[in-house]
Assembly symmetry: C2
Homo-oligomer: 272 residues x 2
């Protein structure tokens, strides 16, 4: 992708820089959101912007562009990059802090990246390894992925594809995806709180005939669960075939995951 936007100005990516006094670099303070553009149109844009402005408010960061201007900037960037199909990231940082601690006027960064989805992902599924960890400010999409990146070797050592966070046995989320299980009774459950509430998760919660529930979900429920899967903008629905080396259900992608996947592909505007 050739260009990015910094505080409303379109700049070549090779010049897309911020001063090192920015509070993201100094103190890890910033938020972002990420979504897909398809045929030039951001997918589920209103949901993502709702969350972006919510994250900003909680962190007391005030973007100096309003929603309609932000949409215009997104459109311009997609056009100038000639990238109708892309992953779009909007980042809002703590800004150039005078004392290196107190947030200042935020810097707004918009970048595009190629968006890849491998259509064999659903059938392949993934394996997870668990880790007792509670994200700080969990309902805010902060830039904090310290633990997730730190755990990369741990994930590889356990022959897993990603980590599943839990707190004292109560399941939370993956670093970049929500978690779902179909229990032995057939209940479709996703953890209720202390997580980042994904836009894909939100869409699934509208599928009322499937009776999705937001509830406590203990790790112990996985022993007898029929299915487990994760959901996100990038992963759509990806079945979890093993957790901590133990198969979930029959160790294959399940019918509820497949049905949700089919519906989401429809809602997202057709297959990739």
């Amino acid at each position: 992708m050739s260009h990015a936007i910094i505080n409303g100005a379109i700049v070549p990516e090779s010049e897309a820089k911020v001063l090192i006094s920015d509070l993201s670099i100094q103190r890890g303070y910033g938020i972002f959101d990420y979504f897909r553009a398809r045929a030039g149109e951001p997918v589920f844009l209103e949901d993502h912007l709702d969350r972006f402005y919510h994250s900003a408010t909680v962190m007391r960061l005030t973007p100096d562009v309003d929603r309609s201007r932000l949409k215009q900037l997104l459109k311009e960037l997609i056009e100038i990059n000639g990238a109708p199909h892309a992953g779009v990231r909007i980042t809002l940082t703590g800004g150039y802090s005078e004392n290196g601690y107190t947030p200042a006027t935020p810097n707004l960064l918009i970048t595009l990246a190629p968006y890849h989805y491998d259509p064999t992902s659903f059938d392949k599924g993934i394996q997870l390894v668990t880790n007792d960890f509670q994200r700080q400010l969990p309902e805010v999409k902060t830039i904090d992925y310290l633990q997730a990146i730190y755990l990369q070797p741990y994930i590889r050592e356990h022959h897993a594809d990603d980590v599943l966070y839990h707190q004292n046995g109560s399941i939370r989320e993956c670093p970049r995806a929500n978690f779902w299980a179909v229990t032995e009774n057939g209940d479709l459950i996703t953890p209720a709180d202390r997580i980042l509430k994904g836009v894909t998760r939100k869409k699934i919660l509208t599928m009322r005939d499937l009776r999705p529930q937001e509830a406590q979900l203990p790790l112990s429920a996985l022993v007898t669960a029929r299915e487990a899967f994760i959901t996100s903008t990038t992963k759509i629905v990806t079945p979890v075939l093993k957790i901590d080396g133990r198969p979930v259900g029959n160790g294959k992608p399940g019918p509820i995951a497949a049905e949700i996947y089919r519906r989401l592909i429809g809602m997202r505007g057709g297959h990739e």
Copy 2:
């Protein structure tokens, strides 16, 4: 301060920038260390560099300058800025990640800032408000201060100067300082683990005649404690007069804090 160093190159501060693909901005991934320069000489430099390289190793970030080259860069920056008295910060970020997630060649940033110490700080003391929070990767000096900055209004609302983290009642640390108490029995205690181990704390642990102990320290011990104080490069020793609005001891700076303060000023090369 007029200049900074980025990856070995001296640049004017107004041009001290990194690309927004840096993993500190994208994922909050980076470490740093901070120390004082006095009369052109960094104070306790070896201790700080030990910790800096340790933090880098744990985070799998490999600075491409070795220790002697780093010392040379520090010297050059202090000279070019004409700043024999300054706070020095060395930051090592996750670098320009190809996929926005996997650490790359780190960026090494060195900056100077004015170092202020108000000599009336000791007598004034501070007030703390408690918060149940455990820092992630606590023994690494990461750039993660999300919770600390998020809590700034909470601190002000409680008429406090800073926050004291504890986990289920077990005292940890302040965001930028270690915590100490003198218990009702006269024991001098600082929390043993799950904290960042400060260089000032390390110096105090060498004052064997004062019998400093690294141990569990419950919040409940503060009710009957004779003294409490925090220690750091910036705060030296600052008495804690109230915690959650309740006076510690007689609510005045105590004799153990005063003695440690006196000795540290000596070790640091005289009063500020």
